[in-house]
């Protein structure tokens, strides 16, 4: 086992990793920028090293300084958390080359999974269902028609250079395809200066379902159930839960088997997440593999009892998985609310000094946060300041617990997303589990009206 782990991150995930290390009896080194000197992750670690100024590119992402910090403190492994250097294949490679263990997938894994086209190819070769779409850009209307027929309507035409809904056209039937193709092409050209468009199957109200996997260095792979992360705003997850209200035992086994297959196809190591899109007819399509521990990993921990960070560390230390697929039991239901330092209506970041702070407690409530009284939320980094996680015997209990825990959470001095979470958890559709990736935008529009 490692003697000393350097945590190349900050905030709640740095504290999360330090806690796991402490419980494993491993010494910890925190790194920090010069605005994070007083941060809880710095105070909680055994040692701490300032690695640069506020700008993350010059501190938390500064590979020479982070590696020097590991060297001068004698750390034998680095946990990257999520974000910053977590999915930087070059960093993982440099760690490997200087003999410091990178706690995560191999640099090859990161590189392969980071290249979405390559990852998609690997999965197609393995026979894993991927998002149906055209093979690259469409040169003309007839290519579009051919692709659309193959995929099946409705389809969506997207600009290759696009984003934010520009250059997109949903097409429900063949008759509308040509006009939509031309319009999308023209809009793409005028907006992005590039008329390249491609085509995908259009899903109405899909769910974002992801499967947590663990793979040890001997290639043994298990999955730990799924997470439903459909509550998103502009691809930013806000609420996650497990099990998904849309996934029954049969589907869980099926999608889990595919996830394990995907991971094996990629020769993937350590913890990872296989993301799927689930349509209304229970068809699921591979989207991507997240080659890191994720923000929402705690909900899986709550229902399995398995500490995913400890498993990451054990796997990286070369230990085989201590359990088999049949040993993993899903008990109860869990939710996570991401509490961001943001105005809850407009989602503008709201840094500042925390003038009052009190965490909720009691049965089935977990708080992962590096906040404390008189903490300053600095504007340089992610606005996630706390994760509020609840567990209950069933979805109703976990939900009721979240409502009362949200009521108990006191954070003053800055604005947070807590009021929005309260509204979501009081929403009748949400309570029934009728959620999709379109839920939040519609919910916000309704509430604004």
């Amino acid at each position: 086992m490692f003697k000393k782990v350097l945590i190349a991150n900050r905030g709640e995930i740095a504290l999360r990793v330090i806690r796991a290390c402490k419980e494993l009896g491993i010494k910890t080194v925190a790194i920090h920028s010069d605005v994070d000197t007083q941060s809880l992750h710095v105070r909680t670690a055994d040692e701490h090293i300032c690695v640069g100024p506020a700008d993350g590119a010059l501190s938390y992402r500064n590979i020479p300084n982070v590696l020097s910090a590991a060297e001068i403190t004698g750390a034998d492994a680095i946990h990257p958390g999520y974000g910053f250097l977590a999915e930087n294949a070059h960093f993982a490679e440099v760690c490997e080359s200087v003999g410091i263990k990178f706690i995560g997938p191999t640099s090859e894994n990161i590189a392969a999974m980071g290249d979405k086209a390559k990852a998609r190819e690997i999965m197609i070769r393995r026979g894993i269902p991927v998002m149906p779409g055209s093979q690259g850009e469409l040169r003309n209307e007839s290519e579009a028609l051919e692709a659309a027929r193959k995929i099946g309507f409705p389809v969506i035409i997207k600009a290759s250079a696009g984003g934010g809904g520009r250059g997109m056209r949903v097409v429900n039937k063949e008759d509308d395809l040509f006009r939509a193709f031309q319009a999308a092409q023209a809009e793409a050209k005028s907006t992005f200066g590039n008329d390249g468009v491609y085509l995908e199957r259009y899903f109405i109200e899909p769910r974002h379902i992801e499967v947590q996997v663990l793979a040890d260095e001997r290639g043994r792979v298990v999955f730990l159930g799924e997470r439903d992360c459909s509550i998103q705003r502009r691809y930013q997850k806000l609420v996650e839960e497990t099990p998904s209200p849309a996934v029954d035992e049969r589907l869980r086994r099926e999608i889990g088997k595919v996830a394990v297959d995907a991971v094996k196809a990629a020769h993937y190591r350590n913890a990872g997440t296989v993301e799927f899109l689930l349509d209304k007819d229970q068809n699921f399509y591979f989207m991507e593999v997240n080659a890191r521990i994720q923000v929402e990993h705690p909900v899986t921990e709550m229902v399995t009892g398995i500490d995913l960070i400890k498993e990451q560390i054990r796997i990286a230390a070369g230990l085989p998985l201590a359990f088999r697929q049949q040993d993993i039991r899903i008990t109860g239901h869990s939710f996570e609310c991401r509490i961001n330092a943001e105005c809850p209506d407009k989602f503008t970041p709201c840094p500042g000094l925390v003038t009052r702070y009190h965490q909720p407690g009691g049965f089935g409530v977990r708080v992962d946060s590096a906040m404390q009284l008189n903490s300053t939320v600095v504007p340089h980094y992610d606005s996630l300041i706390a994760k509020l996680i609840t567990h209950g015997q069933n979805r109703e209990e976990a939900m009721a617990r979240m409502r009362r825990a949200l009521d108990e959470f006191v954070i003053e001095g800055i604005k947070t997303t807590i009021p929005l979470h309260r509204r979501i958890f009081n929403d009748a559709e949400f309570q029934k589990g009728r959620i999709s990736t379109g839920f939040l935008e519609r919910f916000l529009a309704n509430h604004a009206a």
Binding site: T37, I49, C50, P64, S68, I72, T73, N374
Partner: protein
């Protein structure tokens, strides 16, 4: 990485930090009001003050003594005495007498060396006059020897880090007096 890149890095990361007296000074208060009251009373008495007012993050305390002839009122800066304490340098606390002097801090994380090799002389000693651009020390990082140069003329008043020991980003290495530039 090539030697030429090494030199470039050394240049690029050379950013000595100037520490002003206001930043180095600490009034010794913890921000815990209860713990600080006796300390404040002590201050009042020791300095024969008539009145003392302290405000800090929602706390404000004013102490006044009758019978003191001195009309002097001490105003304390409210900023430093908070939970957001100044940067803690791990091996070398900032010296008290820094008026007019400049701290040269490490621009990178690594190991501090005062000489180019174990058997060579140190680049500089305390009391030495140095010129802008003169190499003061080496900070080794990732097997690279990064030469740290002085940003100005002056006299090395104090060497604040110990040779062969690790230094973090922003850690003070030298105290330099630009007035003594001669």
């Amino acid at each position: 990485m090539s030697p030429s890149r090494k030199r470039a890095r050394s240049k690029k990361t050379r950013r000595p930090t100037v520490t002003l007296p206001a930043r180095a000074g600490s009034n010794g208060l913890s921000g815990d009001l209860r713990a600080d009251i006796p300390h404040l009373v002590d201050l009042l008495k020791r300095h024969g003050l008539a009145e003392l007012e302290w405000e800090c993050e929602g706390f404000r305390i004013r102490l006044r003594r009758e019978g003191s002839a001195s009309p002097m009122v001490v105003a304390m800066d409210s900023a430093p005495a908070s939970a957001e304490a100044p940067l803690e340098s791990r091996t070398a606390p900032a010296p008290n007498d820094t008026s007019g002097k400049v701290t040269i801090a490490s621009p990178i994380v690594g190991t501090f060396y005062r000489s180019p090799s174990p058997d060579a002389d140190a680049y500089v000693e305390e009391g030495d006059l140095v010129k802008k651009g003169q190499v003061l020390c080496i900070v080794e990082a990732m097997k690279l020897m990064n030469e740290i140069e002085s940003e100005m003329d002056g006299r090395i008043v104090k060497i604040l880090a110990e040779s062969t020991k690790p230094v973090e980003y922003g850690q003070p290495l030298f105290l330099l007096d630009p007035e003594s530039a001669g």
